[in-house]
Symmetry: C2
Subunit: 584 residues, 2 copies
Amino acid sequence: MKKKLGKLILDFLVKKKVKYVFILNGGAIAFLIDFFKDRNDIKYVCVNHEQAAAMMADAYSRVGPGFAATMVTSGPGATNLITGICCSWFDSIPTMHICGQVNQSDLKSKDNNTINCRQIGFQETDIVSMTKGITKKSIQLNTSRNINKLLNNLYYLSTNDRGGPVLIDIPINYQKKDIEVDPIKLPPKKLLNRSYKINFNKFNSLINNSLRPVFIIGAGIRLSKSERNFYKFIKKFNIPIVTTWGGFDILPFNFKNYFGNIGVYGQRAANLIVQNSDLIIALGTRLDTRVTGSNIKTFAPKAKLLIIDIDKNELNKNRYSNKKIKIYSDLNYFFYKFNQESFNYKKFFDWMKCCQQVNDFINTHVERKYKSKTTSPYNFFDLLNEYSSKNAIFVLDTGAHLTWGMQTIKLKKKQRLISAFGNSPMGYALPAAIGSYFANTFKQIICITGDGSLHINVQELHLVHKYNMNIKIFVLNNEGYGIIKQFQGLYLNGYYEGSEKGYTNPDILAIGKSYKIKTFIIRNNKSIETVLSKVMSYNGPAFINVVVDKNQTIEPKLEFGNSLDRLSPIISTKSYTDMMKKIS
Amino acid sequence: MKKKLGKLILDFLVKKKVKYVFILNGGAIAFLIDFFKDRNDIKYVCVNHEQAAAMMADAYSRVGPGFAATMVTSGPGATNLITGICCSWFDSIPTMHICGQVNQSDLKSKDNNTINCRQIGFQETDIVSMTKGITKKSIQLNTSRNINKLLNNLYYLSTNDRGGPVLIDIPINYQKKDIEVDPIKLPPKKLLNRSYKINFNKFNSLINNSLRPVFIIGAGIRLSKSERNFYKFIKKFNIPIVTTWGGFDILPFNFKNYFGNIGVYGQRAANLIVQNSDLIIALGTRLDTRVTGSNIKTFAPKAKLLIIDIDKNELNKNRYSNKKIKIYSDLNYFFYKFNQESFNYKKFFDWMKCCQQVNDFINTHVERKYKSKTTSPYNFFDLLNEYSSKNAIFVLDTGAHLTWGMQTIKLKKKQRLISAFGNSPMGYALPAAIGSYFANTFKQIICITGDGSLHINVQELHLVHKYNMNIKIFVLNNEGYGIIKQFQGLYLNGYYEGSEKGYTNPDILAIGKSYKIKTFIIRNNKSIETVLSKVMSYNGPAFINVVVDKNQTIEPKLEFGNSLDRLSPIISTKSYTDMMKKIS
């Protein structure tokens, strides 16, 4: 049987549950995009910047079917994807980027006499070599044989083991070509049929010989699609649980034994628990420096690290002074195998009680200093929690607003929260909110961005209006790069070059309005509820300028070199000693 | 003597005549940017997307001192530059991109046990390997010795021979470091003191043995800074001159013997002259496929190619069927040496007369079909010519509006015209207009963009307002991707997927207004002059929505496979034969 390549690719995407492809048309991809004309089973979304397309695909994959695609033209079309591809790479998100390329006869690599020229074909750019290091595979099509096999192999790489983006660069001459459809031999579904054995004895004895164990839960739970097996697993233990930012939305805030998220901007109690533990069980987290603190030698000094990971590079990483025990496994397989057994564990009553007391103490005695002239972001997020729909998706950008949100948002059971934590680009939230919408058109999407981040993909506000999306865009507006300012205040004597000085904002609300989105303003703490009650009660877009004090800082925050238990502002010696007593 | 690295870099940039650095602050570059606090001799411009910073720098270099710099943070800050760096790479523009990088202690390349991890430091991304192929050099700083030498070598590479961008990636730990200032031994000024000899005999005999020679002038004249020597050189000849798009602004439209620009969207007469010549003298052009037509074998079939180029890769490129004679030389050196001699050349009176007659015939008998309900872009550009200031800088984007402009704009003597011809990214014009402003704050800048291209860097409208720049932003608005539509109409049966279908515009004027820029609308041919007379008469920003018919095509245009003399719509056989008679 023969099919045109374009049709074969769309058929493939449909099989992988991709309903929307994020595209920006151009000369080198027009032939491929033309194949949408006959389709009802797959649609495209026209974006206004390829960067946004890659970020939409990233989010679509995160909260949707676990796969997504873009189609863009050669040259600037392809290079504009790169920052978005990085989001998927660092956070292990399966996405496929389909780039048009010039005719093979115009490729500089075609001949020895042109290979060193800068460019032969119009808008020819070697996107494959540029993206080799940020994809699981990046290739240029140079055959019309075994295309099904190729696509499915790319899919397999993208979605299996530690996932990530893939890229395929398709010269124009293939796009309309009739090709023989090769039968697909799918790679074996390795998931629950892995070849390795897991040493549960080691696992069990480590836990039962521990006095103060703690689970650190990362993004790997969702990435490995092991949510169901994880919930069964975790109920077996009476051990404190903390999460990383990547693992933030695995558990509702009131989940039993859950003490919140840890790290440089973490919860004080969660950090204290980790620092005082003697066994850290790391599930699906690479324990990066924003989790451990930059001075890694101070991380949980008394704890052994028990790490379960599918990425051998992460297992072999040797940056901690802690004794490390590695278990190589896909998490879903690990939980699945575990759940088939009936292990028993100590109940750690004293340790749990101690953790609970520390947590209560902090909640009672340690207050955040709220700036009150304008809107306190902490008050704002407290109330946003209340007004959010039960299955809302929070999508966060990069900057102070991200940290305020992560410190304050309390997720309900069916809520999700995403951000591009590893790459952490400004401008992620708006396109990612749009990507989330296409994966879940019926859900409320809460987009949290800042006055700095908004501009990076501001052009996509048009799509929010065009599809009348139920996206609430909150711009936490502190008239500058707040997180950089805090850094400059701490380490650079507060000259604020290029963060407050030299930086100005346009009229944020006017911009929202120009895209025909209903706009609102939250000027101060008093108006938070009034506005939220209006904004959150209707199904449709909203754009809200949340006026935050210019000097509002992030609290608590770990200063450079300090250990996780010494978040600034450092609480008084007496309280600190008291807590340490409780916990050790 | 010791200096902090940050100070040394700013001192270096000042010496290279960089007055403004285009920046976006972030954690990994904040230490470097802090050094601006003590400076009056160099300033920074805060942009809202790093892509725009790279394009501003590109344009600043093109129309300014021939060098420019950006400063951005690691990760997304750096990857956001890439499309802009490509503009400088493909068009050989000297720019320097200074990226912050994580501390060396956090680099994954630091240890064998981390080198294969995806990321160690926060926002760590290997920008050096990603940009190796699109820069003259891209390096990460790993020493604090001989920094002056390093910077000056980068500058030398960037500005000499065939120029291009360079990138330096600076880990945080170096940025505030005291370093020993190494004495600079500048590389020799090779320019007018080259070691190779030029065979002018060959050059002269080729011309004097030719019957129908033609000069094709490209961007290389300006790139090699040989304008003055070129004007002396060209006056020696009575030979028709045509330009590529890259060479568009070397000559005023009424320069003696100048017949306009050639190529796929070229002037009919210019194309006919080239196709019927027997000797092409290519000065500073790589004769790419938009110049020769995609069917290269049909390019000037009777002509020898005499190519003078500094890039050996371009000289050795062997895609033409024409006999090729290569002269390896920097153009400035070539003209300089030439001008020291006193050569005599044939006057080619018959050939010149014939060229002139063909040109007159076309101007008289071949008309463009103007759509007249709305604004004809051809009428618009005709009138824009008249209203433009004598030293205005035209900055063009990518799409139909670019081709309309290139087909119609008639440059006056001191005017400039730039676009990113090789990379040709949508969204170049607005940031490039801003970059041009900072190089020439007193000049009128005419920014030509389209409704598709505008969105890519729309966020930078804020800067236009903030600095009250004398930039006139014309949005040629045909409610879709016109150039793609024309392509789809020709080759894809006019389904217009993703160019008209699925594509919609926001309210363009409302967006301009939201950034506090004075807005105007040109609805039809009648209102062109009324609006232009208002807009062009004051010193300050303007944003003009130019309503163009959705179906307005580009005419003439070369269809795929045709030779340059057969631009579509193909003129009637009789006229065509008449012309051929005149010319051959």
